[in-house]
């Protein structure tokens, strides 16, 4: 089990990207890190994967085998998908036939459409990403470090990937994932963390309290009041209105209060849920 102790990272002349990060990546659960663009999610994953050394703090118990998917997956690879996966299975010391069979299965399930014997750089962006996933998911025992694994995948492949991650977690693998679009909310066994200003916090929401998105219009001070009510997890000001992420349990009460205050409701949407 990998443990990060008071890990910090800053680049030359730059503000710290990470400050005092304490993180344990347990097995049998998906650890999901969210945060805005440039919040340091990828930097944190690169430290866990062993690509980047922290400026301060230390990393203990890094397993020998790590399946790592960076974001974005490199676009200029000369080898074919078959050659690339064969070489990486060998580099990671995995038995060739089983590893290649497993990689083919992963590509099939994700709906890989392309010539596996042509150079990877001739594939579409989505298919390149699927090769990257197949590389990271090569059959070994160690930790999985996946940076934005859903990005660039078509909808069907995203749903399949949810299932695959669920299987890996059920097998007792440790999985560390970044997610800036909220896709990981669908994962059943997950631990959600948020990275802001270089610090890691536990995320308050959980799958047991699903959310609805509410769009309101009205006077600015009214919208500010509504955005401050209990049950509001997030808010985004938009032209002439506000978009709120609201706990479903209190959404009716909140809407009634918003209407009473004089706001008008534009849309209410419930995110698609996967069973």
């Amino acid at each position: 089990m990998i443990v990060l102790e008071r890990v910090g990272k800053h680049y030359r002349r730059g503000v710290p990207v990470l400050r005092d990060i304490d993180l344990t990546v347990p097995t049998g659960v998906a650890t999901v890190i969210s945060g805005g663009n440039g919040s340091g999610k990828s930097t944190l994953l690169r430290i866990v994967a062993g690509v980047l050394r922290p400026t301060s703090g230390r990393v203990r118990g890094r397993p020998r085998s790590i399946g790592y998917l960076p974001s974005p997956f490199p676009a200029e690879l000369r080898l074919s998908a078959t050659g690339y996966l064969r070489h990486f299975a060998a580099i990671r010391g995995l038995p060739a036939s089983r590893a290649i069979g497993h990689a083919r299965e992963v590509l099939d399930r994700l709906g890989f459409a392309g010539d596996p014997d042509e150079p990877i750089r001739t594939l579409s962006k989505g298919n390149m990403h699927k090769v990257g996933l197949a590389q990271a998911l090569l059959p070994s025992e160690g930790l999985l470090v996946l940076d934005e694994p859903w990005s660039g995948l078509d909808h069907a492949a995203q749903l399949t990937l949810d299932v695959m991650i669920g299987e890996l977690v059920a097998q007792g693998r440790g999985v560390l994932i970044t997610d800036h679009v909220g896709h990981a909310l669908r994962l059943p066994d997950r631990r959600a963390l948020v990275l802001t200003d270089g610090l890691l916090h536990a995320q308050r929401d959980s799958p047991e309290t699903p959310a609805v998105t509410v769009e309101l219009t009205g006077a600015a001070e009214v919208l500010d009041t509504v955005a401050g009510l209990a049950g509001v997890r997030g808010s985004e000001r938009r032209s002439g209105g506000v978009r709120l992420l609201v706990d479903r349990a209190v959404s009716d009460t909140l809407l009634a209060e918003a209407l009473r205050l004089g706001a008008s409701v534009r849309t209410v949407t419930s995110p698609e849920r996967v069973v």
Binding site: T43, R46, A49, G50, V51, L52, R53, R64, I66, Y68, L69, P70, P72, F73, P74, A75, E76, L77, R78, L79, G83, H87, F88, A90, I91, R92, G93, P119, G132, Q135, V145
Partner: protein
């Protein structure tokens, strides 16, 4: 390590970037060789040793820069760290030079009237190898991740090479060129100097691999 070397070799071969340094080397050593037989056996190797130093550096930069920067991170993770990847880059470059050195060692023995003894061939081979491997140390130092753009790498290599030649007969490169360009006192003393230079070249490569791996970890590429 063998699997890693095989992968890097497959990638470098597909890039075709190894071609310019290899071609330059064969061209230049061919031109110098065309001057014909002149003096002692070892003198025929002076020119190729002179050229092998920058060619070794160029070849190492080619290998170090072949992979995409993000891909380098994936490869380092899969291989088990930056040290392994950097060492593989150096070993592949050193191994890639060996056939070139073999060609330029055997060629004068076949084409000239001068009779070559085995010891002369062996000393000539090792002396050229010492120059080429020192070049590899320079190339690994001045390629990715330390110098990220190949243009700057080439400029830095040119500067280091010119500077090395200015210093005269210091090991490992200057002493080899001096040895090959003159009549050596005895083959035994020549062999000792060559082995010393070869050992220094290997130590330089090891030192550079350790240092460059540190930089790679700090920069994450």
């Amino acid at each position: 390590m063998l699997a890693l070397l095989r992968y890097l070799l497959a990638d470098v071969l597909k890039s075709h970037r190894y071609f310019p340094p290899a071609f330059l080397y064969l061209l230049v050593s061919g031109i110098f060789d065309a001057r014909g037989d002149s003096g002692p056996a070892l003198n025929a190797y002076g020119a190729s040793a002179l050229v092998l130093y920058p060619v070794g550096a160029w070849l190492a930069v080619t290998v170090a820069n072949a992979e995409d920067n993000t891909q380098r991170g994936i490869t380092a993770t899969a291989a088990g760290g930056w040290r392994k990847l950097t060492a593989a880059v150096a070993i592949l470059s050193m191994a890639g030079l060996t056939p070139l050195v073999l060609v330029s060692t055997v060629w004068p023995a076949i084409t000239t009237a001068h009779p070559y003894r085995f010891t002369e061939l062996a000393v000539g081979f090792a002396a050229q190898l010492a120059c080429g491997w020192t070049g590899v140390a320079v190339g690994v130092l001045l390629g990715r991740p330390v110098v990220r753009k190949i243009g700057w790498s080439m400029l830095a290599i040119a500067a280091v090479v010119v500077l090395t030649y200015q210093f005269g007969r210091i090991p490992p490169v200057g002493s080899m060129i001096g040895l090959l360009g003159n009549v050596p006192p005895t083959m035994a003393s020549a062999a000792a100097t060559v082995l010393e230079s070869l050992a220094i070249a290997v130590v330089l490569v090891i030192g550079v691999v350790l240092g460059v791996s540190e930089v790679a970890g700090r920069r994450g590429q």
